[in-house]
């Protein structure tokens, strides 16, 4: 027998909320006559205790089996009345709510009673079909996910963690602390923000129950209340956090200067950074945002791996001294190399694929010219007590001396010539490398403590064996000074001079008998140097004689070009045969033409004389520049192994000779070579001499970074992305002036040209880390790993607290306030940084030009309480403005004008603070919204000031207030990424854009998604005390759920009638929560109760009507609609 339906209906007055517009008695009377209704009554407050009691009693007395309460929204009290019904022994789902408040009395004046009747009739009609449903209990996972490490996130995490539960705290920046740690002081007590926050940060960071995931973001959350699965992306930090000691050594050397977000872009940081001194964790991260477009081939091409992308970027950024110091960190001869290096880097430069290489050498010289090496401070170096002797003060010997001195060893250098410098001084002419430039570089090495003793010939003045005994280690870098002979007739004539000797004599200023017509034999840089020097010494006609073509000529192309410009002739494919004399004086040189044949052992085409092509060149002087050999006989006494042409045999990786403690390098080992190779040899030897002196193994090898090649695709990409830009041309002295003397030919790049040229570097095109690896080179604990990748962590949690905070409003959209237009118009958060001891000015209130402002306007409600931006009040600005005023008065005593609409300085002690700031600090309050800021003065008073226009509505009068600084109290607004956060955590956003709480008063931290809570300013603007209270409330919600350990799942979910289902799968597609799936072999849909959120999408989609939705089935819905339509 079908059970009789007995419905009780309650019409609530809700005080006057409903009763004012709805004639409640009439509605109750109406309801009592509806089918199935046994009794109906109205009551003042149905939700109150007596109201609830009434329902329970009626259920018993009238034997009710259905209940309808017509009152407020089900969001408010559906749960209450379901509980009441259940207490009286009915299934709670046999209850139906009729909303006659939000849907009726609040929105209607007339006809409200009639509408209320309709709503009640619909509810009655529906409740007849309600079925008893059973709620399910599920366990709540013990871990909690807290998103956001500001004050709210920290406080919530601590409360839960202190309760003995595990918390995973995800923070997207590298440090927790949030906005509060950016502040200087906090109102109204003026306690220092750092003092109240850093202990909390530290406790949070070290709490055994808190798993801090900094530099991480939540990417995905799935599951359901009590059982969420989250995916968290731990962004690559490129620094092993377990190794990093927070020493900050890597910061100094990083060439990528970026704006520090923590300092509101008012101060710089490096790409490798810790955002502020008290950061937690206090570990560096590398801000790498994109891959470098080139492979930095320059670095690998350089024998000493100079950080070219680094210093070039610093030049592009205008940081010239830093660029110089970066060069100097690996190269003791920046001035020299900036002038005479053969620049293998430029050959390798990836820009060659687009147009021409970056003018790296010229940029190095530019950086060098911005700094006087004599002004450099000498670092304090701890002495090791070990002694090293270096033989030969050329580039290799001096480089070794430099590095060894830097390592704390006592270095003595012996040099046979009167001055140090070797080939740099005696081989390279003044017009290419001015001596005073060289002297400064050598002087720096002397200042480091290297004892350079010149005019001492080892092997003659001092036996090498003595040195071997007297010093702990020896480095032989005597170069290649021995002459090579042509082996042709009359080579001994006085007019035939050896090239290197010629250059040396010229450098020494000796009188060299030079004829009018000079021929130079050879094709290397020495030959060109000799030719150009001869020209400068007065030769009328200079000819270079070279046996191959210009293509094979080893001299630098620019040198050859310069020689030609100066009028020097070059006879290619020409070889001397013999010298001819008149009266024992050289008169001409007989030559023969050559032709090129198959390459020889050096890889160059072999020149062969052409029979019968002899001719003569008139010459008073011939300079032979054929190359040199090392003069190393003196080493034989102690048994050092030598190779061909007297070169010293070494282990090329360490510089060690066959005799323990004796190392060698440079031209003495390789024969004549380039400066940079000699420097590299000296530096390598220094590393291993140091190891030798410390008794460390010489088998150790530095980690080699593998050079990558650009792929074809990458090259095409580069060509498409980067337009051709002309390479800077080095300005030179005009030829006429050059040949008159030894003035330096290259004049150096200007600042603009240099910065522009540096801007061509591909590595510097990207934002963030340029992957130059300088940090890795500096790191003492090997913490840097540039190959790190983002990591995905999956965490199962029972509850989630979203504490993602707020952004500040960007006032530049209010153009008339002059933000970004005038230097001294700043936002509140920027001013916080200016005020903070850790900020860009060290807490000194200063204008951009460094001066102390005499007057400051504080403009309230910028972006707040303004329909054009944010309609809401940001709640903190008034008191923050008072705080600023007080701090300004306290620090600099400037005049302060608060320009406000209403002063809303509410909260504990805030009114007192307001009173104090007004009366004690003498701040001037102008009631009115500042409408514009300009620098256009209209009278003497306003000259040089920012003039704020405001109507003082208290007088009323239009004011123009001249001030030095304007602080805009900008609105707090939802985070930029709040839409993403809302999507991930299934949150709703209010019209103001902040996340919506479950109930404005009674559910301030809960959300519509059970198990997800809000804390702090993501829910709306709050001051610190309110944020903390909010956070603690969220923690309390979580803890109460954890204490219970389980939660109920609404049974109002979808259910599939397998007899009807065709297994089409549309439900699977439509469901956002992955609840339905097709079960095989039945090939029918099945809904996972735990996953179903009860949204109804599948039921509405199902073409065959196989899916129904419990509590919202067709009968229930249709009967409700039918009653409304009746």
């Amino acid at each position: 027998m079908k059970k009789e339906i007995r419905i009780g209906v309650y019409i609530c007055h809700c005080g006057f909320n409903i009763a004012k517009t709805v004639r409640v008695k009439e509605v109750a009377e109406f309801a009592s006559k509806l089918p199935g209704v046994v009794m109906a009554r109205d009551y003042m407050y149905t939700c109150s205790d007596p109201g609830q009691e009434q329902i329970r009693n009626d259920i018993k007395e009238y034997n009710l089996n259905r209940v309808v309460v017509a009152a407020c929204s089900p969001n408010m009290h559906e749960k209450t009345f379901r509980r009441v019904v259940a207490e009286a022994g009915l299934n709670p789902f046999l209850y139906q709510n009729a909303n006659i408040r939000e849907h009726c009395s609040w929105v209607h004046e007339e006809g409200a009673t009639e509408k209320a009747k309709d709503i009640v009739a619909a509810a009655v009609s529906r409740v007849i079909y309600h079925q008893p449903l059973e709620t399910k209990e599920v366990e709540i996972k013990k871990d909690t996910l807290v998103v956001g490490g500001g004050i709210a996130g920290m406080m919530a995490s601590m409360d839960i963690a202190n309760g003995g539960y595990k918390v995973h705290l995800v923070e997207k920046t590298s440090s927790i602390g949030g906005h509060i740690i950016q502040f200087d002081k906090t109102f109204p007590t003026l306690d220092c923000a750092a003092c109240i926050t850093t202990p909390k940060m530290s406790d949070t960071g070290s709490h055994r129950n808190i798993n801090l995931l900094n530099y991480s973001v939540v990417e995905e959350v799935s599951g359901f209340t009590g059982n969420f699965q989250s995916k968290i992306r731990k962004k690559a930090k490129y620094i092993d956090q377990t190794k990093c000691t927070g020493c900050r050594l890597c910061f100094d050397s990083c060439p990528v200067v970026m704006k520090n977000e923590f300092d509101m872009m008012l101060a710089d940081r490096k790409a490798v950074y810790i955002p502020f001194p008290q950061a937690v964790p206090n570990k560096a991260v590398i801000d790498r945002r994109e891959d470098r477009p080139c492979k930095a081939s320059c670095m690998y091409a350089c024998p000493i791996n100079t950080n070219v992308p680094g210093y070039v970027k610093l030049i592009a950024d205008g940081r010239f001294k830093e660029a110089y110091m970066l060069i100097r960190s690996t190269n003791p001869f920046p001035s020299t190399c900036g002038r005479v290096c053969y620049a293998p880097c430029e050959v390798a430069c990836d820009r060659n694929n687009i147009d021409k290489p970056v003018a790296i050498r010229d940029l190095k010289r530019f950086a060098d010219e911005q700094v006087d090496a004599d002004d450099l401070d000498i670092p304090e170096i701890e002495k090791t007590g070990k002694t090293v002797v270096v033989i030969g003060a050329g580039p290799s010997g001096l480089s070794a001396a430099h590095d060894l001195a830097m390592l704390g060893h006592s270095v003595t250098v012996f040099e046979s010539l009167p001055q140090a410098g070797g080939m740099l001084r005696y081989g390279i002419p003044e017009y290419r490398l001015p001596k005073d430039v060289l002297n400064k570089e050598i002087n720096y090495i002397k200042r480091l403590g290297a004892d350079i003793r010149t005019g001492v010939i080892v092997g003659k003045d001092v036996p090498i064996s003595e040195l071997q005994n007297d010093y702990d280690a020896v480095y032989i870098a005597v170069g290649a000074q021995g002459k090579m002979k042509l082996g042709i007739k009359n080579e001994d004539l006085p007019g035939v001079i050896e090239g290197v000797s010629f250059l040396r004599s010229a450098a020494l200023g000796e009188n060299i008998p030079l004829g009018r017509k000079v021929a130079v034999i050879g094709g290397g840089n020495t030959a060109v140097d000799c030719a150009r020097t001869a020209l400068r010494l007065g030769a009328e006609e200079v000819t270079i004689v070279y046996r191959r073509t210009i293509n094979e000529m080893p001299a630098a192309p620019e040198e050859i070009e310069a020689a030609k410009e100066e009028g020097i002739k070059i006879e290619y494919l020409t070889s001397p045969v013999c010298f001819m004399s008149e009266e024992d004086t050289l008169s001409q040189m007989e030559c023969i033409r050559m032709e090129l044949q198959a390459p020889d052992s050096s890889g160059r085409p072999r020149p062969m004389p052409i029979e019968g092509s002899e001719f003569t060149i008139p010459a008073d002087t011939v300079i032979t520049a054929l190359g040199q050999v090392p003069e190393t006989d003196f080493t034989k006494k102690i048994g050092i192994a030598l190779g061909k042409n007297g070169t010293i045999n070494i282990s090329t990786e360490t510089g060690a000779t066959n005799i323990e403690g004796i190392f060698a390098g440079g031209d003495a080992v390789t024969g004549p070579g380039y400066v940079i190779d000699a420097i590299a040899a000296g530096k390598t030897a220094a590393v291993y001499i140091d190891r030798y002196l410390k008794d460390e193994s010489l088998e150790w090898r530095p980690e080699k970074q593998v050079k990558e090649e650009l792929t074809e695709t990458e090259i095409t990409g580069l060509k498409n992305k980067y337009p051709k830009i002309e390479r800077a041309k080095m300005p030179e002295l005009p030829v006429r002036e050059r040949i008159l003397g030894f003035k330096e030919v290259s004049l150096g790049l200007g600042v603009n040209e240099a910065r522009r040229e540096a801007g061509r570097c591909l590595a510097g095109q990207i934002e963030g880390c340029i992957q130059c690896g300088e940090c890795a080179r500096r790191c003492g604990v090997n913490a840097v790993n540039l190959n790190m990748k983002d990591e995905i962590v999956e965490l199962d949690v029972g509850n989630i607290i979203v504490a993602t905070g707020y952004d500040t409003f960007d006032p530049s959209v209010i153009k008339q306030l002059g933000y970004k237009k005038y230097d001294n118009v700043m936002t509140s958060l920027e001013f916080e940084r200016i005020n903070s001891p850790t900020g860009p000015t060290g807490g000194q209130i200063r204008m951009k030009n460094g001066e102390v402002p005499e007057s400051i306007a504080i403009v309230h409600c910028v972006g707040s309480r303004d329909k054009n931006y944010h309609e809401y009040c940001s709640r903190v600005c008034c008191t923050a403005g008072l705080k600023f005023a007080h701090l300004i008065k306290d620090k600099i005593g400037a005049d302060v004008y608060e320009m406000y609409i209403d002063m809303r300085s509410f909260g504990e002690s805030c009114e007192e603070f307001y009173n104090r700031v007004a009366s004690e600090d003498g701040v001037k309050f102008i009631r009115g919204k500042a409408t514009s800021v300009t620098d256009k003065a209209i009278n003497e008073e306003e000259q040089g000031k920012l003039i704020v226009s405001v109507e003082d509505s208290l007088i009323p009068k239009m004011l123009r207030v001249p001030v030095d600084m304007v602080i805009l109290l900008v609105a707090m607004q939802p985070r930029d990424d709040s839409d993403d956060i809302a999507r991930i955590f299934l949150l709703n956003k209010r019209a103001d854009g902040f996340f919506m709480e479950q109930h404005i008063k009674l559910g301030p931290v809960s959300t519509m998604t059970e198990g997800v809570f809000l804390a702090g300013c993501c829910e709306g603007p709050k001051d610190v005390p309110d944020s903390v209270a909010h956070a603690k409330a969220a923690a309390s919600e979580v803890l109460s759920r954890l204490a219970l350990g389980k939660t109920e799942i609404e049974p109002t979910i979808a259910i599939v009638d397998e007899d009807i289902c065709s297994g089409c799968g549309l439900c699977v597609k439509i469901c956002a929560y992955g609840a339905p799936s097709i079960i095989e072999p039945q090939h029918r849909s099945h809904v996972n109760e735990a996953l179903c959120k009860g949204c109804g999408a599948c039921a509405a989609t199902c073409p065959s009507g196989a899916i129904s939705h419990k509590h919202f089935n067709f009968k229930e819905l249709l009967s409700e609609v039918e009653a409304l339509a009746a």
Binding site: A918, S919, G922, K924, V961
Partner: protein, 385 residues
């Protein structure tokens, strides 16, 4: 509306002149709303405070800025406890400093300066009222110095206060004396008018003579003298007891040294003078004196005690011309009549001047008697034999 620049120096001037209180004001407007002047004319107290706060008050000499009668109604209600009268005093000090005070005040100042009274009369004439009264000059050992105030001394109408007072003192057998020409004006209005130097001079001269004569206790007729002696002289080194005549005669009645015997079957309404009431919270003693008189029916204004309406005579206003239609005392007379009073009882000489004048000018002489409390008491008290 042309925009103006705030003139910071002007604010500093007021601050330096003792107007620090102006910084405390948060511009709620209570002062303007409660200021009695706004019953009869516009007096934007809040607005003037604000203009001085931000440096836009430059017209210090304008008569509009000298309106305040320092009645204290605003301070009584100010939610921030701002000493508003101090602000006015500071503004006036600046006026005095630049000699831009209203014309009417100049002779008052010079009379105070040269003769020690504001009434333009000679110092010698200070004793004119005592003629034939056989009063003793104060000398050491006397219990009380009677200090009548310049107004009863020089003004023929107000003289009745002094006469009634000494009569009562004699009846009660009080051992008292007067200083006569040796005393000077208490300086209250000089101070309120911003002439601090003059106030200091007058006060110091009085303190000196009091000390010299060995004065321990002073009975005063004027609440203004009372306020100044009691609250301001101590800062300058004064050390003596001050008591207002109404308080003193109440003591005498309670000690039965005075016995109000004759019936006074009239409806008497008591007007609280600002400086006895709001400024010094003396509300009950005058009423008790009146209540002690047989058959006297004491009635009250609706706005009595701290809500009492000012007569308009304080703060130096007594020497400035107030147009008929703006006289607060006229309103008070109407209020008294409306309450059914036959006699308006007073306890302040300034009030007496204003009310005598109002009753006369309003043609209400026959309807409302203006009496000092001492007059009424004297009329019902016989000699204690």
């Amino acid at each position: 509306m042309t925009a103006v620049n705030p003139f910071k120096e002007s604010t500093d001037m007021f601050l330096n002149a003792g107007g620090e209180a102006l910084q405390q004001c948060y511009q709620c407007g209570t002062c303007t709303a409660v200021c009695p002047w706004n019953l009869v004319r516009e007096f934007p107290v809040r607005k003037i405070i604000h203009t001085s706060q931000i440096g836009l008050l430059t017209e210090v000499g304008e008569e509009d800025n000298w309106i305040c009668a320092t009645c204290g109604a605003c301070e009584e209600r100010c939610p921030r406890g701002v000493k508003i009268i101090d602000i006015w005093r500071a503004i006036r000090r600046v006026g005095v400093q630049f000699d831009i005070l209203p014309k009417a005040l100049k002779p008052v100042m010079s009379s105070l300066e040269s003769q020690g009274n504001p009434w333009g009369d000679t110092r010698e004439n200070r004793v004119a009222w005592t003629k034939g009264l056989d009063l003793s000059p104060f000398e050491k050992g006397m219990d009380v110095l009677y200090f009548p105030c310049c107004t009863p001394v020089y003004d023929r109408n107000a003289r009745r206060i002094a006469l009634a007072s000494v009569s009562l003192l004699k009846k009660a057998g009080v051992n008292f004396g007067i200083l006569g020409a040796e005393e000077s004006c208490c300086g209250e209005s000089a101070r309120k008018l911003g002439n601090e130097d003059l106030f200091q001079k007058l006060a110091k001269s009085n303190i000196e003579i009091f000390k010299q004569k060995g004065v321990k206790k002073i009975v005063v007729s004027s609440p203004h003298c009372f306020h100044t002696f009691k609250n301001e002289y101590p800062e300058l080194g004064a050390d003596f007891e001050v008591i207002h005549m109404t308080q003193f005669v109440l003591q005498l009645i309670e000690q039965e040294k005075l016995r109000p015997e004759k019936p006074y079957p009239k409806k008497v309404i008591y007007h609280d003078p600002c400086y006895l009431g709001r400024h010094n919270k003396i509300y009950e003693e005058p009423r008790k004196v009146l209540s002690s008189i047989p058959d006297l029916q004491l009635i009250e204004f609706d706005n009595n005690r701290e809500d009492a309406l000012c007569c308009g005579g304080g703060g130096g206003r007594i020497w400035m011309e107030t147009p008929k239609e703006e006289r607060l005392s006229n309103i008070r007379v109407d209020q008294a009549l409306a309450a059914g009073a036959e006699v308006l009882a007073l306890s302040c000489p300034y009030c007496m001047l204003n009310f005598d004048d109002s009753v006369l000018n309003m043609g209400k002489s026959g309807l409302l008697e203006v009496r000092d409390i001492t007059e009424i008491l004297d009329s019902v008290t016989g000699e204690i034999s």
